[in-house]
């Protein structure tokens, strides 16, 4: 066990899986000598050579399509999209093909590929570089959608994704790459579809994933100082999602806040609320609160960007509204 960054944990997972399985192949823009726009593929060209680490032309549809073809022929491609925003150029490959080929082929072939890509805002990269598009993928049957929040999960879930027989959209987050945490050495897998209880508590459930999971934890720690004992659930994956863990928590706490980085309308947060009311309606003491990004294309100017993103402050304020008798700091 050692302290590592989220970025290093991803790198370790790729390296270990490439050593373990010769079929694992990396495809992406600037992933070779440049080691990826966010340096996740550091050292991999040097270790595995350009037979297995391919710098691709700027053609996202070709990256995804090539990964699909290679996966059908028995390789296990891991494609890097420079950001989720550019994955939009490959949506036909992802939605019409990766997600459906196994079904349309009557189960005769699997499509075991991973598309890794960072999303999220807050870095002054504006409208076409800062989006959180989780729902676009989570909506589609046939895709697994994984969104780790911690370095340990980044490693364990990426290894599990590479070994999965299904296409996996692996959502990283720009704001998490430099975050640090304990990462188990060697063979460490986190099963896809099992949420984590990041902090146990009794008064309130806060649900997040990816960047909003640590945000929820920060809010929970501040609320604790003010006498509110929040439980934090990190979903870890959106499809499959662990609704039972969420429902069990809400049955205990009777209150919930759902926090997401993307836009509010029709986002995964709405799905979480619907599942809570399906599975725990009788236990609720208050309407479930939702916190999300402002419904605008991400602006460049810092003065605008700052007010467009959800924050721990928003969570603390929502908790105070739900539990007015116990005032938080």
């Amino acid at each position: 066990m050692a302290i590592k960054t989220y970025r290093e944990a991803l790198n370790e997972a790729l390296r270990e899986e490439m050593r373990r399985d010769d079929r694992v192949l990396l495809l992406g823009e600037d992933i070779g000598v440049f080691e990826g726009a966010y340096k996740v593929t550091a050292g991999l060209l040097a270790e595995f050579g350009d037979r297995r680490v391919k710098d691709m032309p700027i053609a996202e549809a070709v990256i995804a399509g090539t990964a699909i073809g290679a996966a059908m022929l028995g390789l296990r491609p891991v494609a890097e999209m420079m950001t989720v925003n550019f994955l939009l150029l490959a949506m036909d490959m992802v939605v019409n093909h990766a997600a459906k080929l196994h079904y349309m082929f009557g189960g005769q072939t699997t499509v075991p590929l991973v598309i890794r890509t960072p999303g999220g805002g807050g870095h002054q990269l504006a409208a076409q570089h800062s989006q959180t598009l989780d729902v676009y993928f989570a909506h589609v049957p046939g895709l697994k959608v994984v969104a780790p929040a911690t370095p340990a999960d980044a490693k364990g879930l990426l290894k599990a994704s590479i070994r999965d027989e299904n296409p996996v959209i692996f959502l990283e987050n720009l704001a998490l790459y430099n975050t640090r945490g304990e990462v188990p050495d060697g063979e460490y897998l986190v099963p896809i579809g099992k949420a984590a209880i990041s902090r146990p508590g009794n008064d309130l459930t806060i649900v997040g994933w990816s960047r909003t999971a640590p945000m929820a934890l920060e809010a929970a720690n501040r609320l604790a100082a003010a006498g509110i004992d929040a439980e934090v659930i990190d979903l870890r994956s959106l499809r499959p999602a662990d609704w039972e863990t969420v429902a069990a928590s809400v049955r205990k706490t009777t209150r919930a806040i759902v926090v997401e980085e993307g836009w509010l309308s029709f986002g995964p947060g709405a799905e979480v609320v619907a599942r809570i009311q399906d599975l725990a309606f009788d236990y609720l003491d208050a309407p479930v609160q939702r916190i999300a990004g402002a419904e605008v294309p991400a602006p460049y100017a810092k003065s605008l960007e700052r007010v467009s993103l959800p924050s721990a402050d928003d969570i603390v304020r929502a908790a105070q509204r739900m539990l007015p008798r116990r005032r938080a700091a």
Binding site: V33, A37, P57
Partner: protein, 346 residues
């Protein structure tokens, strides 16, 4: 303007070859001034970024001749440009002011490009017929085909020029856009600023062909490769392409060979993928310096004019920086402005 030195050829001159362009001395000096200004503004942007006064920049340095040489063959206020993020020289020539450039760079409320919403260098100015650029590369190419189609349908004499790098020609949008434009003989010119790199990826990993120009044959349009460090060579090629487009003969692909003097952007360190000597030797072909030398050799730029030009440019840059940096940021209350059209219809 640290890279500018006195032209070495002033003293030992021979009779120079005639320039062979339909431009007078004043126009040639204006082209030179726009190139010098592009370079000076760009150098200042890097400085401001490194001083922590601005978040991001991406550079035109090394591309100035390709940019100003092509733009100079267009009609201001009538022709339409779809520049990409390096095209400071294009937008300055088409009429954007240095103050406007700096307002965008500092993301100020009065930035005419986007009111501080879009990234710097993603130019868009309706009054100047400059169409807003995008971050996903190459999307401007089909847009340009559509703009040219509209001009043709409306019987407007407008020519459209669209700009992009060679790495961008790997995207489907490039191939699909050129194909469509050629089928309908649209009045559009595709200008590739071919600097040999797409961030770190060298040209030979983007295409198996030696040039971008030769791809034009596959779509049925002329494809012309030109030395993009020679502004007049670029101008001549563009001039023919513009005449062709305006007279209804259809599109042209121009492949300008240029060098990128800087890292990809202020977020990049290019030392990991190219040796510094490569950039140093490219600087021997500095397009700005080369053109100043040409004008001096042809007695089109006297020492006094040259001096005056540099002083003017330095003052313009200083004024633009001071003006823009002092101007207000967009107000948080305006966050949702422009998500939808305010009037609902046009």
């Amino acid at each position: 303007m640290g890279s500018m030195t006195e032209p070495a050829a002033v003293k030992t001159r021979r009779t120079p070859r005639p320039l062979d362009v339909d431009l007078g001395g004043a126009e040639l000096r204006a082209i030179c001034e726009t190139m010098v200004l592009s370079r000076a503004l760009d150098e200042r942007m890097w400085l401001l970024n490194r001083q922590g006064r601005a978040h991001f920049t991406i550079s035109c340095q090394g591309h100035e001749a390709a940019q100003v040489g092509t733009a100079a063959a267009l009609r201001r206020g009538e022709d339409i440009t779809l520049p990409y993020y390096r095209d400071l020289g294009v937008v300055l020539w088409m009429g954007m002011t240095p103050r406007e450039v700096m307002l965008s760079f500092f993301a100020r409320a009065d930035d005419p490009n986007s009111g501080g919403r879009q990234m710097p260098n993603h130019w868009g100015h309706a009054g100047l017929r400059i169409i807003s650029g995008s971050s996903p590369v190459g999307t401007q190419i089909p847009h340009a085909a559509g703009v040219a189609l509209a001009a043709k349908i409306r019987h407007e004499p407008t020519v459209t020029a669209v700009y992009f790098g060679e790495g961008t020609t790997s995207e489907g949008d490039f191939h699909e856009g050129l194909n469509f434009a050629a089928i309908h003989r649209l009045p559009v010119i595709f200008v590739c600023e071919n600097n040999g790199y797409a961030i770190s990826v060298p040209r030979h990993k983007q295409m198996a062909t030696a040039t971008v120009a030769e791809r034009a044959a596959a779509y049925g349009m002329p494809g012309i490769a030109v030395d993009g460090t020679d502004v007049l060579a670029v101008y001549r090629v563009m001039r023919r392409a513009v005449d062709r487009a305006r007279s209804g003969q259809g599109p042209t692909l121009i492949d300008t060979r240029v060098h990128r003097f800087t890292p990809h952007s202020s977020d990049d360190d290019d030392r990991v993928y190219r040796p510094p000597e490569e950039v140093e030797s490219a600087r021997q072909q500095d397009p700005v310096e080369k053109f100043r030398r040409t004008l001096v050799q042809h007695d089109l730029l006297t020492t006094a004019q040259d001096h005056e030009l540099r002083e003017r440019v330095a003052a313009i840059v200083e004024d633009a920086v001071v003006f823009a940096e002092q101007s207000p940021l967009p107000a948080a209350a305006d966050l949702t402005r422009h998500v939808f059209a305010e009037s609902g219809r046009r």
